[in-house]
Symmetry: C2
Subunit: 348 residues, 2 copies
């Protein structure tokens, strides 16, 4: 028997339908991704001239666009949106438009072509998060960009076109509806209950334990109640804060540790699955301090999105989140600090 | 320079970004789908016992689950939702749920394992549409199902798990948000302008011509202004009507002709691309007669949906719809009745 579950923030429904996992298929499974030659990779050290000039490196150093970086941020050479002098558009008619104003940047996570984010040391993941924050802060100070999204596509199935580990940042001239819906859902919950819905989720999930994947002092990773995708994982800071760019050094470290633990666990169970990672954060300037709670969502790309999902917005997920969390918790190699609440009864 | 466009009905923005079509990739393209052995196909004639008992065949005939059908409708053996006696759920708390009540059916479009929908004769496509209508009518008479979605996933990239040509129907215990947004968008336009937004789109698109792919007496196929996907095509009935199941025999014939023409054109340009097809229709019982306009959306699955799309709901499309329409109109083998308005100046 399948079940419909309502996302406590957005109100969107999903269908959890374990029966569908047993469906037969007569399509032969696709070949695994075969990486091309790393020699031609524009993100590798020595090829800095193949990208637009860098806007940030960690550690900071001169000369620009030279060697010695660990994390490098460059404008996307094929931007979805870009900086334009003035924003022109046409509103009011049937066919409204705006110039594609914005910024589209690439965060190169490591000089090592073959290293995935999960394989990097925690300190290197922290540097990637630090670069995210620095760029988000910089771009949000530009009034033309009410919204900045940081995300990562890992693997071609998840939308990546280059293999070398990288994340992306897109600054937009508007706050998109999907973001508004989440903000409004959180605001409505706060009005009704006087409390942040995410804080409530964290408290309830820690008490129940069954959807918790791991936790540390700063972060909790859980398989969300209304998971849209099989093996979806959310990473939430335990301290209430509406904006990612305001996270402390300790919270960055906690996220790096939780992220490495969660990705390592997914890799162990699913052998390097393609995934999307999205940083959810309140837009700069919105008064969402009390009601919104920044977090990171990791969505493995294992199932195809079809006509039903596009037609309804309702996702069909064949793996209950309780099963995902139990399965990942069973792994023995989660770091000592990354145990589930079951293993730390004093926290329950 | 890219451009943001607003969908005139839902208000959702898309980014049309032709520059991104030139991006390099170092992932090797996946192997094409290889079909398995048709001998084991549960949708082939002779294997009727491999599916749950049929709920409809065209032409109608006895004995049930025997030979002689052209279109056969059966319950899905691995349903996302199914009929249950009473709907139980829990509302009001943080974690709301409902039993997975509904119906999930498969419309087997042809006895011929290797025939795609586009390859069927128009009369056979009409029979498929007739089966859609008969099942939608039947299920909408059940008060437990406020919404029925008809859709088709063609090819494994588009979410299909079996190769034999089939569509699906899912009846749900609620009207999903995505559908509500479209209905509300159409209603708001009607309140503002006193006119159906889709009728307005059809009129404006026919006058301009640049996004029209083909048209016949009953239907128009166009590349929508705010196309979310490369090569997306909408098929709209020229006569205003809110519900697909009320379409006349002549409209079914017009849709069959337009659909065959549009799919044949896509096949010619893209060699049998995977696609999703979704029938958009007002829910039974909703008072949307004046403001909503049923139609069919065809979305080829050529690009990957990534973190940006999931995080914002905004799609990045690297092929402007004007280019898609021009490209498809150039094909010489569209049927004489399926010419673009450019070829029929008396219609402009």
């Amino acid at each position: 028997m399948s079940e419909l579950r309502k996302d406590p923030v957005t109100g969107d429904w999903v269908i959890i339908s374990p029966e569908r996992a047993r469906r037969p298929t007569d399509f032969v499974k696709e070949a695994a991704n075969v990486p091309g030659s790393p020699g031609a990779c524009p993100f590798c050290p020595g090829n800095e001239s193949m990208t637009p000039p860098e806007v940030l490196t960690l550690p900071e150093r001169t000369p620009a666009d030279g060697a010695g970086w660990q994390v490098r941020v460059v404008p996307n050479k094929f931007p979805a949106v870009e900086a334009v002098k003035a924003l022109s558009g046409s509103a009011g008619g049937l066919f409204e438009r705006l110039d594609g104003l914005g910024a589209h940047e690439v965060i190169i996570e490591t000089p090592d072509h073959g290293a995935t984010l999960a394989a990097l040391p925690e300190s290197a993941i922290e540097s990637v998060l630090q670069a995210y924050q620095a760029r988000a802060r910089e771009l949000q100070s530009d009034k033309r960009f009410p919204y900045v999204l940081i995300f990562k596509n890992h693997g071609s199935e998840a939308g990546a076109t280059l293999e070398h580990g990288h994340s992306q940042l897109i600054a937009l001239p508007l706050v998109p509806r999907r973001v508004q819906e989440e903000l409004e859902g959180a605001r409505a919950y706060f009005s009704r209950r006087g409390r942040c819905v995410y804080c409530e989720i964290i408290e309830k999930e820690r008490a129940a334990g069954k959807r918790v994947v791991l936790e540390n002092e700063d972060f909790i990773a859980l398989a969300p109640y209304a998971s849209r995708f099989p093996w979806e994982i959310w990473l939430l800071p335990r301290r209430h804060r509406s904006r990612f760019e305001e996270a402390s050094e300790s919270e960055r470290a906690g996220l790096a540790r939780a992220l490495k633990g969660a990705l390592a666990a997914l890799n162990k169970r699913l052998s390097n699955p393609p995934y999307n990672l999205v940083v959810h954060s309140a837009p700069h300037g919105e008064a969402s301090d009390d009601d919104y709670h920044w977090h990171v969502e990791v969505m493995p790309s294992l199932s195809r999105v079809g006509g039903f999902e596009w037609g309804t917005g309702v996702h069909i997920n064949s793996i209950p989140p309780e099963e995902v969390a139990r399965n990942l918790r069973e792994l023995k190699d989660l770091r000592p600090g990354d145990r589930s609440p079951k293993a730390k009864p004093e926290d329950a």
